[in-house]
């Protein structure tokens, strides 16, 4: 059974639903896929996965979410788990935020909405190799 996970964070449930389905189609049972609607919920998921001894490989996060911005969240993640690859998936190209995420969260890539499955797949494959 897989012990590696990909976590998606976005405040829009429909984005989470389609994103997760895409990942499942791309990578099948190779990874565990979890989703969270906010940074707070993401932390809970991270803790749960840690408890299950499932290692998070990648976090794909939206930028504009209530309460906490994606770049801020990814920076916190990076601080605690520097080995997790951080990817931003956003509809709003806020250059300053992306730059901040690059510096503080070692942002691997930023995918712009609307994205293609190939784009997503390529980013994840290259990130995990």
């Amino acid at each position: 059974m897989s012990d590696a996970a990909i976590l998606c964070v976005d405040d829009e449930t429909s984005i989470l639903q389609v994103l997760k389905e895409q990942l499942k189609r791309c990578f099948g049972s190779r990874y565990v896929y979890e989703v969270a609607q906010s940074a707070e919920e993401a932390w809970i998921v991270i803790d749960e996965l840690e408890e299950e001894e499932i290692k998070i490989l990648i976090i794909v996060s939206d930028w504009l979410m209530p309460n906490m911005r994606g770049d801020e969240f990814l920076a916190q993640v990076h601080q605690r788990f520097p080995e997790i690859v951080t990817v931003m998936l956003t509809g709003q190209a806020d250059e300053a935020a992306i730059e901040r995420a690059r510096q503080q969260a070692n942002l691997y890539a930023c995918i712009h909405k609307p994205w293609t499955e190939e784009e997503l797949k390529r980013v994840i494959i290259t990130a995990l190799n």
């Binding site: 059974m1 897989s2 405040d11 829009e12 449930t13 429909s14 984005i15 989470l16 639903q17 389609v18 994103l19 997760k20 389905e21 895409q22 499942k24 189609r25 099948g28 049972s29 565990v32 896929y33 979890e34 989703v35 969270a36 609607q37 919920e41 809970i44 998921v45 749960e48 299950e52 504009l64 979410m65 209530p66 309460n67 998936l89 956003t90 509809g91 709003q92 806020d94 712009h112 909405k113 609307p114 994205w115 293609t116 499955e117």
Partner: protein, 542 residues
């Protein structure tokens, strides 16, 4: 923005259609000349009339004197001498006559009296001869000598003729002068009318100019409102774009997912009967039926716990990739009741069958996602359209105040994601008559200010209720509040607490103007942690 704003103001007003300036002056000068000329003519005519009248009177008097002289002469004849009384009366008569004659001579400028004077001199000399004879006591000779009657009659006839001429002349001159007066009056009336007409024309033109200027001003004001609105939109447009990219992303991914699912399903379809026995197939179709019926489980702590439990149960049935299969089942809306899947769990085709079922059914979920995303995009586009709309008809329209508020909330949706909790307290209110585009500007300003006041989060409350003949919109934030000393100034034009370039300082001033136009009003109460803008708008007859 200012350039755009200036353009309508700079447009030259309708070209001046004033007649050349001298025309009025020319008319005035001509009028004065004509007036002086006609006054002089009338005066002269009157003088002629007067002179004719005087002459006529004098002639009458002369006639009287002549007849008196004749009577005195006869008295002398009768007495046979010229006594003292007669001498005095004769002297007196002569004096009077001389005075009248001298006056007549003065009037005799055109020599029309020459003949009369000759006749008078002849008559006088006759009378003098007769009187001399009487004085010499030759009364009888005086009578014999007498040709006085003849000269008298001639004189009398001439005087009468002259009197008639003068009467006629006076009548004629009077008629002329009357005609002149009438003409002058008519001319004056005409001139006054012309001048008045010109004056009215100028006034009318000035009035039109003013009206045009006023309309320009109003247009400039509504354009200013629109500019402010669009400037506010400019600040949030990136966020609105993000909002559209979300549903677009969902649509694109859903379509791609459906496409892949169908491709896989079509490949798998022929092998269904080979891979699954009838019992397993029954279980498989039940799964499909349930998946079509159940909504997918939403991500939550609860659903994750459920998934872990299900994973454990699947592991107990020795299902391979239990967690993955559990995830697929959860996404198909299957959670606790899954005994009917036992035949599949036991099958070595378990994962294949569940993936196949998932591929067959996921397009329904994806289609739902697409429909929701399309609705969402349409809502954003509609909000943008309502927001950017600029009605120049200037006519009041039926306004649903809540719709206007919702439009602005949609535009500011991602701004609200910055730690702001939104509370809607909309009571049933009637529609009002107003200018929807301009009211949107009011809501934009108030909501924008409220959001800015809550940099570090808070609660934005929008409340609607009816009050008397109007409706009340309360926009409340839990931000820092407005210091009491500037509360009075916030509605002033160009007053801003923001640094240069961030706000024009026209926002609330424009709101106030818009509310004035609606005969509504706005008040503010503020203390730290509670700031409420309260807008009242009249309902009017809808």
């Amino acid at each position: 923005m200012l350039n755009l704003l200036n353009s309508p103001l700079n447009t030259p007003l309708a070209p001046a259609q004033l007649k050349p300036k001298w025309s009025a002056w020319f008319i005035l000068m001509a009028t004065i000349t004509v007036a002086i000329a006609s006054a002089t003519a009338i005066h002269q005519l009157n003088q002629i009339a007067e002179y004719s009248d005087d002459s006529r009177l004098l002639l009458t008097q002369i006639k009287e004197r002549a007849s008196r002289l004749k009577a005195l002469e006869w008295e002398g004849i009768f007495k046979g001498k010229i006594d003292q009384d007669l001498t005095r009366e004769l002297a007196e008569n002569q004096q009077n006559t001389d005075a009248i004659l001298s006056k007549l001579r003065q009037l005799n400028q055109q020599h029309e009296l020459d003949k009369f004077f000759v006749l008078y001199a002849r008559h006088k000399s006759e009378v003098d001869i007769s009187l001399k004879l009487i004085a010499q006591g030759k009364a009888k000779e005086a009578i014999d000598h007498h040709s006085i009657d003849a000269t008298y009659d001639q004189l009398y006839a001439e005087a009468s003729a002259l009197e008639n001429i003068y009467t006629e002349k006076k009548g004629q001159t009077r008629q002329f002068s009357d005609l002149g007066t009438t003409f002058s009056l008519m001319l004056s009336a005409a001139i006054i009318s012309i001048l008045f007409y010109q004056f009215s024309q100028k006034l009318l033109f000035k009035n039109q100019e003013l009206e045009t200027a006023f309309e320009e001003l109003q247009r400039a004001q509504s354009q200013l409102i629109q500019q402010e609105k669009m400037a506010a939109l400019g600040q949030v447009i990136a966020g609105v774009a993000h909002e559209i990219n979300n549903p677009l992303g969902a649509i694109k991914a859903s379509a791609s997912n459906t496409h892949k699912a169908l491709q896989e399903a079509l490949v798998d379809l022929p092998s269904l009967h080979q891979r699954l026995n009838s019992e397993e197939q029954e279980s498989f179709f039940k799964l499909i039926a349930q998946a079509l019926h159940n909504p997918p489980a939403a991500a939550s702590q609860e659903s994750r716990a459920l998934k872990r439990k299900m994973t454990a149960q699947l592991q107990a049935h020795e299902v391979e990739d239990a967690r993955y299969v559990a995830d697929l089942l959860m996404d198909m809306g299957i959670n606790e009741e899954f005994e009917f899947l036992l035949p599949l769990f036991k099958s070595d085709q378990c994962e294949w069958a569940i993936q196949f079922a998932y591929n067959l059914t996921c397009s329904f979920v994806n289609n739902q996602t697409i429909l929701r995303a399309v609705d969402r995009s349409a809502k954003i586009v509609f909000a943008l359209k309502s927001y950017a709309r600029f009605d120049q008809s200037g006519k009041k329209q039926v306004v649903k105040v809540a719709d206007g508020l919702e439009t602005v909330l949609e535009i500011y949706r991602n701004q609200l994601k910055r730690n702001i909790y939104l509370v809607r307290d909309y009571q049933e209110i009637p529609n009002i008559l107003g200018y929807p585009d301009e009211l949107i500007q009011v809501w934009t300003n108030l909501i924008h200010n409220a959001i800015q006041a809550m940099e570090s989060g808070g609660t934005l409350t929008l409340a609607l209720h009816q009050q008397g003949q109007g409706i009340v919109v309360n926009i409340t934030d839990t931000g820092l509040g407005i210091p009491i000393e500037i509360q009075q100034k916030i509605f002033d034009a160009f007053f801003t607490t923001k640094s240069a370039g961030e706000g024009s300082g026209l926002g609330l001033h424009i709101c106030q103007k818009i509310l004035d136009k609606h005969q509504g009003h706005m008040k503010v109460e503020s203390e730290p942690g509670h700031t409420q803008f309260s807008v009242w708008l009249p309902i009017e007859c809808v």
